[in-house]
Subunit: 280 residues, 2 copies
C-alpha cells in the first residue's frame, strides 16, 4: 500500500465525554474504554464449560432461549428477524474473565490437539483481551410473551446465563465466504467418537425425552465431538486401550451438567459409553 501506508499510520484521535457506548481518549490519542449494557441473557442446556460444543451448529439440536432485559424487550426491535434462518449473537464470555485483567497471549486450540500454541487472535478461545464471543445460531421462532419477545434458538454453543450484547441477522451474501481458507486442520468432524448407551442410560433418556425433546441426539452430538481436553484425548489415542465392554472398569468417569442432568460417561480411545443421567 506504499505511500498511503506512511501517511495514515497514526493512532485514533477520537475523543468524547464518557457516556454509554462512547469511546474516549487519553492524551496520547488512544481509545481507552467502551461501556456496553447487555440487552438480555441466553438460557441454554449447557450448565458448565465442560461439554460445550467448540463452535455453533456442531450440536444442531442444542436449544437456547434469548430473553431480553426489560429496557430491550420490545416486539418492534425484532420485527422482521423471523425472515432470517440464522442470527449472530454477540455475547460476553462472562466466565472467562481473569480478575487481574490479564489475558493469555497464546493459547492451545483443541483443534490442533492441544499441543500447538497460536496467538489468542488466531483462535476463538473465550479467554481473550476483550471477552466477546460471537456465534451464529438457528432462529427457530419468536415467542411474543407479555414481558417481551423470546427467541427460540438451536445449534447453540453458549454457556447458560450468558449476557448477550447484540443480535444481528446472518447475511449469506456477505457472511458466507466461499473462498475463505482455514489453514488449521483437521476439522472437528474428522475426530468423531462412537457413542454407546448403557441400558440404564437408554431407559433414563426415554423417560426424560417426554420433557426434553431430542435429548438422545443432543447427548450423542455433544459426546461425538469429544469434550475431553485435547491433551487427554491425545494421550488416549497414543495408548492402545482395551475398549471391550469388560475393559471399561478402569476408565475415568466424566460428568457433564446438561439441562438439569449430570451426564456420566467413560471414554476409551474414540469410543464413549454413556453410563447414566443423574438428576442434579
Amino acid at each position: 500500500m506504499g505511500k498511503w501506508t506512511d501517511q495514515i499510520l497514526i493512532h485514533g484521535q477520537t475523543k468524547y465525554p464518557p457516556s454509554k457506548g462512547d469511546c474516549y481518549g487519553s492524551s496520547a490519542g488512544d481509545v481507552l474504554a467502551v461501556h456496553l449494557d447487555p440487552i438480555g441473557v441466553i438460557h441454554t442446556c449447557f450448565k458448565e464449560k465442560f461439554g460445550i460444543p467448540r463452535q455453533s451448529n456442531l450440536v444442531d439440536k442444542a436449544p437456547g432461549m434469548l430473553e431480553f432485559f426489560p429496557e430491550f424487550a420490545r416486539p418492534d426491535a425484532v420485527r422482521g428477524l423471523e425472515q432470517f434462518s440464522h442470527i449472530w449473537l454477540v455475547f460476553v464470555f462472562h466466565k472467562a474473565v481473569k480478575k487481574d485483567g490479564t489475558w493469555p497471549v497464546m493459547v492451545r486450540p483443541p483443534r490442533l490437539g492441544g499441543n500447538k500454541k497460536v496467538g489468542v487472535f488466531a483462535s476463538r478461545s473465550p479467554f481473550r483481551p476483550n471477552p466477546i464471543g460471537m456465534s451464529c445460531v438457528r432462529l427457530e421462532h419468536i415467542e411474543y410473551m407479555s414481558k417481551g419477545p423470546v427467541l427460540h434458538l438451536t445449534g447453540v454453543d453458549i454457556l447458560d446465563q450468558t449476557p448477550v450484547l447484540d443480535i444481528k441477522p446472518y447475511l449469506p451474501y456477505s457472511d458466507r465466504l466461499d473462498t475463505a481458507r482455514d489453514g488449521f486442520a483437521p476439522a472437528p468432524d474428522n475426530q468423531i467418537c462412537q457413542i454407546r448407551f448403557s441400558d440404564t442410560a437408554a431407559a433414563q433418556i426415554r423417560e426424560r425425552e417426554k420433557s426434553i425433546p431430542n435429548l438422545r441426539a443432543i447427548i450423542t452430538q455433544v459426546l461425538e465431538n469429544d469434550p475431553r481436553p485435547a491433551y487427554s484425548n491425545a494421550q488416549f489415542s497414543s495408548i492402545k486401550k482395551d475398549a471391550r465392554t469388560d475393559g471399561w472398569d478402569n476408565e475415568r468417569v466424566y460428568g457433564i451438567r446438561l439441562f438439569d442432568l449430570d451426564l456420566k460417561w467413560q471414554a476409551a480411545g474414540n469410543k464413549i459409553r454413556v453410563l447414566c443421567l443423574d438428576r442434579l
Copy 2:
C-alpha cells in the same frame, strides 16, 4: 421445548465486582454493564460515513490497516493468524452513538429501498443498543514493525479511525452456513450502477494510482453499490431523468471523502459520472 422452557425462564443471576470485562448485576438480577478496552484502531480509506460499502467485501480492494495499541501490540498474539484468508473484526460504531443513550427500535435498511421499517435487531444498522459492528475482511499480510504487528486488510467497510475490540479467525466450517436463508430481498448486486469517468477524473486517477493502488477499481466499486440514501435512489428511479451527457448539468453534485481525496460525482437513475478528485 415444552416443560424445559418453563423451568429456566428466569433472568441471569451472575454478580461480580465491577472490574474489566466483568458483568455485574442489579438486585433484580439483571446484568448491567460491561467494560471493554479497544485493542487497536483501524485505518481505512473511508473518511466519512457516506460512501462506506454496506457490507464487507462489496468493495474487495478497499484497504485497511489494523494497528494495535501498545498493550496489545504483541507479535505472539497474532501468531498463526496468517494461515486464515479472512478474519472477523469486532469493532465499535463510534460515530453512531446518540449522546442521550437512546436507540432506534426500528430502522429502514437501504436494501429494502429505505421505505420499509424493520426491527433494529433484524438489521446491521450501526445505530443499535450496543454500537458493536462485525465485519469479515481479507487478511492480506501481517507486517511486523518495531512498535508491533500491523494487519493489512482488504474488503473493509469500516470508517477510518474505528476502535477495534477483537479479532477472530473466520472459520469456514462454522461460519459459512450453506443453508442460511435471508428473507430480505434484493441482494445488493441487483442494483449495480453504471460508472463513467470524465476525462479530468480519469487523468487524476492515473496520476494518483502511483501512490494509491487500485484507486479506479475502488472508486468504481464504491459507486456501483450506489451510496446515495435509498429514498433518494428510489426518487431517481421513479422519475425518468435525462441521462445523456448534456443532461447532467442539473444533477446534484455529491462528494465522498476517500483516502485524501474529495470524490465529486453526479447521478441520474442508475448512471453515475465521476467529475473529479480534489485533494482534501
